[in-house]
């Protein structure tokens, strides 16, 4: 399809709403997933795994829609939904976000298994930092099995969560290509 001739008009209300929705979709969908993950299903808590996957994926592939203040808000939500000392989720997610921004040029082009492998590294660091901060803020050593369970949940959930996220990402790219 070729278009000729006309100068681009100023974006109308609908186009702007559309862009706004695209910009907000990553953080809003992550918030929704985190809230749903807090429902009791008999598993260890899924909230940190969901938050980590969302922040990592969107910082890597669509950093403009996952700005640092949004990451801060997601971390705060994670801490408030759970019972852990305030600030742990905020700090780990912000560090993950910062590190993902650093490596995104190299990593965003890679195939899915490589990205997943990198995510495993991020998950180890995030869970380890969470454990350390929990020990420091609570001033006693927390048991390690929940940390391991959290790590495996984070790693195992990533493909399940990345699939709809990459579908959404590609859809948004197509929409931007058309506009």
């Amino acid at each position: 399809m070729t278009r000729r001739g006309r100068p681009a008009s100023a974006p109308g209300l609908l186009a702007r709403l559309d862009a706004l929705a695209r910009a907000a979709a990553p953080s809003v969908s992550t918030v929704a997933a985190m809230v749903l993950a807090a429902a009791p299903v008999g598993l260890p808590t899924l909230v940190p795994a969901v938050a980590l996957a969302g922040v990592f994926f969107w910082s890597l592939f669509r950093p403009a829609s996952m700005p640092a203040p949004a990451v801060f808000g997601l971390g705060l939500l994670q801490d408030l939904l759970g019972f852990s000392p305030l600030g742990i989720g905020v700090l780990t997610l912000l560090l993950v976000h910062g590190a993902a921004l650093r490596v995104r040029r190299a990593l965003a082009k890679q195939s899915f298994p490589l990205v997943w492998l990198a995510y495993c590294g991020f998950a180890v660091l995030a869970v380890g930092l969470g454990y350390l901060l929990q020990a420091l803020l609570g001033w006693h050593l927390p048991p390690t099995p929940p940390a391991f369970a959290g790590f495996w949940l984070a790693v195992g959930l990533y493909p399940i969560l990345a699939w709809p996220m990459s579908l959404a990402h590609r859809g948004m790219q197509r929409a931007e290509g058309l506009a």
Partner: protein, 289 residues
């Protein structure tokens, strides 16, 4: 929207992560310094989300039901054998209980015994897992018809589950007995020895501080003790089980991994309550002395 030049905007974007990381440390300090504020914010958020959870509870319940059904079908044979054995045992107990009840009634008539008032309770739905990686707590939906107070005792249909630790207007948080911060005074029913049941975040809390020479034995029944006026005596808690290291643990009656309804009891006890409850006494909580 304010228009900024491109380099300035880039500089701002680069600065925002370090600034927010500093803010994260600030949040940590705030969380340590003002626990009451954190608690209020948490309950405000929980109140906000409680209706949403209540709506989501139906489909989630369906998913959980399906999973449980599949598991049930898989070990049907084993379950039948176990139930048959349990049924035999319960029949024997029923006979014993009926005999004891008759004897009890007979003895009471001779003593002009004044019975304890039956405790009031409300049933509430568990709507969210409010713990986290290193904490064990659940959120229940309350409402205008269900007033819950801090310190009330929560039981599931089998035994003690936890205590109300935070109360909002539409939801309340129950700290489970398995949480690391939970300390419950208990009595071993066989030896009447007192002990402390200490949560470890694992499935089985540990027993500590029993009197010397009264080592808890495998299979002893554990019930709550009225020590410190936080629990009524005799609520069923669990059975002593010696762990891998030989340390006595409590196999809980309550099934904390699949809580869906909790009974919140009002025993009218006002034992150890958090500090702010002491400075602002609630007139509706009366100690029963």
């Amino acid at each position: 929207m304010i228009r900024l030049s491109v380099p300035l905007r880039q500089a701002l974007a680069r600065l925002s992560v370090p600034v927010l990381i500093a803010a994260a440390f600030g949040t940590m300090l705030l969380g340590k310094a003002d626990t009451l504020l954190v608690e209020r914010t948490r309950m405000a958020l929980a109140d906000l989300l409680a209706p949403l959870y209540a709506v989501a509870a139906e489909p989630i319940g369906a998913v959980r039901g399906t999973v449980a059904e599949v598991q049930g079908l898989l070990n049907l044979r084993q379950e039948t054998a176990r139930l048959r054995e349990e049924n035999d045992r319960l029949h024997r107990w029923q006979a014993a209980a009926l005999a004891l009840e008759a004897e009890n009634a007979l003895l009471r008539r001779q003593l002009t015994f004044v019975p304890d008032p039956a405790p009031q309770f409300h049933t509430a739905r568990v709507v969210a897992d409010a713990g986290g990686t290193y904490a064990k707590a659940v959120l229940i939906a309350t409402g205008p018809f269900l007033q819950v107070q801090k310190g009330q005792v929560a039981l599931d249909e089998r035994g003690l589950a936890g205590r109300v630790s935070e109360v909002g207007s539409r939801s309340a948080r129950i700290l489970l007995v398995t949480d690391m911060n939970s300390r419950i005074p208990v009595v071993l029913e066989g030896s009447r020895a007192r002990a402390m049941m200490v949560g470890t975040n694992g499935a089985r809390p540990r027993l500590q501080h029993w009197p010397s020479g009264m080592q808890p034995q495998e299979g002893d029944r554990v019930v709550t003790s009225a020590e410190s006026a936080t629990f009524p005596a005799g609520l069923p808690v669990g059975i002593v089980h010696l762990g891998e290291t030989g340390w006595p643990e409590v196999e809980l009656y309550a099934r904390l991994d699949r809580l869906d309804l909790l009974r919140i009891f009002e025993f009218g006890l006002a034992g150890i309550l958090p500090p702010e409850a002491v400075t602002r006494p609630d007139p509706s909580v009366r100690p029963r002395h």
